[in-house]
């Protein structure tokens, strides 16, 4: 029995050449997954609007954040001239809220950056070397997980009297743990792979392998750790400022404004409502964005 050739000789019957399939990289797939997550996209959009407002603050506000330009209208309710009203010291409240976003976001991003700077080397060392180094770092993390961050932050805040950079420092002190764990897990998973083995066989030292091969392969968990550290730092700042050991006045901070607003809430509701809503919306948007990014960049990490 003769076997028919699979390809017909007749050129007219041959199927047209298949279109060249574009190779889709993991980042593109991640981007598609991110776009499919409506909550994350909404969070990202709201966060960009808040970021834009914070950056453009001087252009969209009528006066400086600390200018008592409207003393005659002190405690005025929201109106066309003052969208969010005027606070007890005659400052335009919309201005204060927008500049509060600046403070909150700066602290969030700076603290996240420092968390990543501390977390990467420690996580990499723990994951790559294992053994006693891993043990020491894991015990360190255990101590940090037993100390409640807010309580320690309050003590440290009292110790050095609060202040902008102090809060960044405290937030980073407690924020690195998550980045460290994420990086450690990723590097542990990668260090047995062939390309790392090959590099070792070629005589590459551990530092070279970590920086040249392992950390570039840990970019997704690092990005995720960075974005998820932002809302935590913002929450810490707001909580400390609310208790009066955070950013000192007159720097506008939402936590501080909520504390002040509490004293006025029965008579001048706007002083309590706007900072509360601003803080809630910003933290929520950032968290949703971060969660979405995590699910998109590494679907195996799961939504928990």
């Amino acid at each position: 029995m003769t076997v028919r050739p699979l390809k017909t000789a007749d050129p007219a019957l041959a199927a047209p050449a298949p279109p060249v399939r574009r190779q889709r990289g993991p980042l593109w797939l991640g981007w598609r997954r991110f776009l499919a997550n409506r909550a994350a996209v909404a969070g990202g959009a709201v966060l960009s609007v808040i970021l834009a407002m914070a950056i453009l603050a001087p252009l969209i506000t009528p006066a400086g954040p600390n200018a008592q330009a409207f003393l005659a209208d002190a405690l005025a309710f929201p109106s066309a001239a003052h969208w969010f009203g005027v606070d007890d010291l005659g400052r335009d409240f919309f201005t204060r809220i927008v500049y509060g976003a600046r403070v909150s976001l700066t602290i969030g991003f700076a603290a996240a950056a420092f968390s990543v700077l501390i977390g990467i080397p420690l996580g990499a060392a723990a994951g790559y070397f294992g053994g006693s180094i891993d043990w020491v770092i894991m015990r360190l993390i255990e101590i940090f997980s037993v100390i409640p961050p807010l309580l320690a932050a309050m003590l440290l805040g009292a110790l050095v009297g609060g202040g902008f950079w102090m809060i960044v420092f405290i937030a980073a002190l407690f924020g690195w743990v998550q980045v460290c764990l994420l990086v450690r897990a990723q590097i542990k998973a990668f260090k047995e792979k062939e390309f790392v083995r090959a590099a070792q066989a070629l005589g590459a030292g551990p530092v070279y392998i970590i920086f040249r091969h392992l950390i570039p392969n840990s970019v997704s968990p690092i990005i995720v750790g960075f974005v998820l550290a932002i809302p935590l730092a913002m929450m810490l700042e707001a909580s400390l400022s609310f208790l009066g050991v955070g950013v000192p006045p007159p720097t506008p901070s939402w936590g501080q404004m909520i504390n002040t607003g509490m004293n006025f809430m029965y008579f001048y509701w706007h002083l309590a409502v706007f900072p509360t809503v601003a803080l809630a919306v910003t933290v929520l948007a950032t968290s949703l964005f971060g969660d979405g990014l995590r699910d998109a960049l590494d679907p195996t990490m799961g939504g928990r």
Partner: protein, 310 residues
């Protein structure tokens, strides 16, 4: 199992020791003691005498050892802010509101969260699933004092249904309890949902279905039990979150509990009270940690027989 518990016990004890040294030295590094010239303008000799009376003139490690020896006999000293009683008496008084409100919050919040998470896992992508996700996300991301503020603004200021602050009459308890309940509810809603979903996707559930077991029996007899482990491990973060949240809940609702004494002790640099509160909280967290580890090991035979927490 006993060896495992002993190992965990030693580890927890070491952690507690390190944390207590850290807290003690941090506390004493705070610039400005209670008898500084600025706060208390008294002649130098009187100041020295006061320092000696409270033992503040000795080297730090002596102070630490003396202090811990006292703690072993439940002697935490006398709070600077109310010298008429001991720290222990003050704490005994402050415990009640925190325990009542916090306890009721957890007792109401955790089961509600579990029910919500279960319903969400069983009816995926239904309205109750979205509700569970919304509750979990809102409760875990928004700080407690913001939630409290929103509650006060809505129910006290706007609707005028409930009083916003105080302690005593039961209607004053409602809002703080709701604020307290948000964290356990959100935590358990999220983790119950994901634990149940994990289990529901396991092959043995398919086998049970293929066997023809009624869905109700599958869920209650098999899935629930196998989903219990993550719910035990999440107890610790939930507990820490609730305990820390109590500071803000009590500050917002002006409840005279542990949280508000913590804030006032920091503001007035009341070392004995601050130290006692921090030690107590750390001990509580250490014990919760230990308890969740032991429960985890007890529920999970793979850990019970050798090997540690992964």
């Amino acid at each position: 199992m006993i060896g495992y518990i002993l190992r965990r016990l030693v580890s927890v004890a070491v952690t507690f020791f390190i944390v207590s040294v850290l807290i003690f030295s941090m506390m004493h590094a705070i610039p400005g003691g209670p008898f500084d010239a600025g706060d208390m303008p008294v002649p130098e000799e009187v100041r020295q005498k006061l320092l000696a009376q409270y033992g503040l003139d000795e080297p730090l490690y002596v102070q630490y050892l003396k202090y811990m020896w006292g703690v072993l006999r439940l002697d935490f000293g006398v709070p600077f802010q109310s010298p008429g009683e001991t720290v222990l008496e003050l704490l005994g008084r402050a415990w009640v509101p925190s325990l009542v409100l916090g306890g009721l919050g957890v007792l109401i919040g955790a089961p509600l969260g579990m029910l919500l998470g279960m319903a969400a896992a069983l009816k995926r992508n239904s309205w109750i699933d979205y509700l569970a996700s919304a509750v979990a996300t809102l409760g875990l991301t928004i700080p407690v004092f913001v939630t409290s503020m929103l509650l006060i603004l809505t129910f006290s200021v706007w609707l005028g249904w409930l009083p916003s602050s105080g302690w005593g009459a039961p209607e004053r308890w409602i809002l703080p309890i709701v604020a307290y309940a948000t964290i356990p509810m959100a935590t358990y809603a999220r983790y119950t949902r994901s634990a149940m979903l994990d289990t529901l996707n396991k092959p043995f559930v398919t086998v049970l279905r293929a066997k023809g077991l009624p869905e109700r029996q599958i869920v209650f007899k098999h899935v629930l039990r196998n989903s219990a482990i993550p719910l035990v491990t999440v107890f610790l973060p939930m507990f820490i979150g609730t305990a820390t949240g109590s500071i803000f809940v009590e500050a917002m609702f002006r409840v005279p509990g542990l949280g508000s004494f913590f804030v006032s002790s920091i503001r007035t640099r009341d070392y004995p009270l601050e130290m006692a509160l921090m030690l107590m909280l750390t001990l509580m967290f250490c014990l919760a940690y230990l308890l969740s580890d032991i429960l985890y090991a007890w529920l999970n035979p793979r850990i019970r027989h050798g090997g540690g927490r992964e």
